[in-house]
């Protein structure tokens, strides 16, 4: 009998705690599949951050550190500099990376740290119950922007990938989405390339993954995926911003 579908070895056989319809689980699986395909589980070290995925070391099989809010790129820097032969990735949300951790992500990119960041952008703070994030869209209602995000009060949503793409040390930058199968497959390709860029010692690599948060968006999972397509992608266009043609 031929096996056509199984759990990647890099992912533990555990129920995840994420809400129904949340795309964290999909992204975890994509990372694990990439780790398996590259045969790097034994030398991969992940860095979990603060937010809904704070304990994703419960799901990945590789060595992992848990970092303070926003500090994962600094922690990953320390790990990678001690063990340059390891593959080191951070897994961060948009509150973590785009707000409290802006200095750490910008400077890890500036130094061209040979690490890979998986950046989950769902336009909201998930774990702390739906506050406005720097990535929250204009007019989006959150618990701290109950009348919608207003440019005159809150400014415009931050386009992190575009910003990081201006930095020399960031050699691979791509934005992907999880709202349908085709895009999920593209997301996996980008994650794989980002890891390969690190393994080739080319510099800092990041994949921004547009993700859903049905619970805090107040939608069912199907509507949430449609909301990514209809509202997020027009503001956060998907595609490669840098490093598409890098030879790995």
């Amino acid at each position: 009998m031929k096996t056509v579908f199984k759990r990647p070895h890099a992912l533990k056989d555990k129920h995840m705690h994420y809400c129904p319809g949340c795309t964290h689980g999909i992204v975890h699986r994509l990372i694990a599949e990439v780790i398996d395909e590259l045969g790097i589980e034994g030398k991969t070290i992940g860095v979990a951050s603060v937010g809904c995925s704070y304990n994703n070391y419960e799901y990945f099989n590789c060595d992992m550190a848990q970092a303070a809010h926003g500090r994962a790129p600094a922690v990953a820097t320390g790990i990678k500099r001690v063990n340059p032969g390891n593959v080191v990735f951070t897994y961060q949300g948009d509150g973590d990376l785009a707000s409290i951790g802006t200095a750490e992500i910008v400077h890890a990119a500036m130094r061209g740290e040979k690490i890979t960041t998986i950046f989950i952008n769902n336009a909201i703070y998930g774990m702390t119950s739906g506050q406005m994030a720097p990535t929250t869209l204009i007019n989006q209602v959150t618990t701290t922007s109950p009348f919608g995000r207003k440019p005159e009060l809150h400014g415009y949503p931050l386009k992190v990938s575009e910003m990081l793409a201006t930095i020399e040390g960031a050699v691979f930058v791509e934005r992907v989405s999880t709202h349908d199968i085709k895009n999920i497959l593209n997301a996996k390709k980008a994650i794989k390339k980002a890891f390969q860029v690190q393994m080739a010692n080319l510099g800092f690599s990041i994949v921004e993954v547009l993700s859903s948060c049905p619970t805090n968006w107040g939608m069912n999972p199907v509507k949430a995926l449609a909301w990514i397509k209809e509202n997020m992608i027009p503001y956060y266009p998907i595609g490669n911003l840098k490093g598409k043609d890098l030879e790995v």
Binding site: D63, Q66, A68, V75, R111
Partner: protein, 352 residues
Amino acid sequence: MGKKLLMKGNEVIAEAALRAGCKCYFGYPITPQTEIAHYFAKKMPEYGGTFIQAESEVAAINMVYGAASAGARVMTSSSSPGISLKQEGISYIAGAELPAVIVNIVRCGPGLGGILPAQGDYFQAVKGGGHGDYKMVVLAPSSVQELYELTVEAFNIADKYRIACMIMGDGILGQMMETVEFKDKEEIISADKSWALTGTKMEREQNVITSIYIDPEVLESHNLKLQRKYKLIEENENRVEIFNCEEADVIITAFGTVARIIKNVIKMAEKEGIKIGLIRPITLWPFPNEAFEKYATVPKAFLSVELNAGQMVEDVRLAINGKNKVFFHGRMGGMIPTQNEILDKVKEILKG
């Protein structure tokens, strides 16, 4: 012993760290400790280690967290305002039980304060500073020679107990030049680091470095484990210098550079027939309570002299536990008490 060299305190810290096997230094410029970073920047390549001038103190301490997680001997250094920024990371390092050495060359506060010597960070260092129930070992050298010896020691203590170890000096100690005699070879303990993040190599279970335990029973048992470790350190690691205390009229207690002034006061007082003793805590945590208990009833009174508004004096009073009077004399803002000023205070106490 090796040859004697004339060196600046801050440079000796970096040299001692390299001799102790420090492979990573992460820091951010701030006066009066920046020579530590200069020395590492120049010398670290010879040792095959990592030097990073971080984007902030917050990033530097989190790089320490990462490098310590990966099993390396690692150091950061700063001065008071920068140490305040590091408190978040120090609490996480304590929670995750990582070995790390942190140097604070203390300057005056509060706020930006001034760049001159002070001891106003005593509370921050020994009572917490960051959030949660934790301790770090705090070493307070009073000479450049001791700065060297205690820096090496700090790495051993950090590795032995998986704890953050702080070296607390001040602007005098960091900036002054004194002779220092280096050993030919340092005594470096070999610590088990099978917990470190190195990659599983598909040969062992996953290692995880974390400070979060959502289940309250698990978190309480983690806290109790930390407290047992702190108790063990209190029993084994407290260090103190006791000088001239046997028949003292007054015992002065002081740490770091202030203790040097006290030794001159002792000589001045002898000429006037006044016997002064000195208890100099070398570890500020664990605090050398036994030394105070031993001499509690010997003098007519204790006097704590500090470069702050009265911080260590609280621990002295706890150690004396009502068995004697405890007075305080302090200067702030970078002002240093003179020998005469301290002797006058002693005479005032003896007059009653």
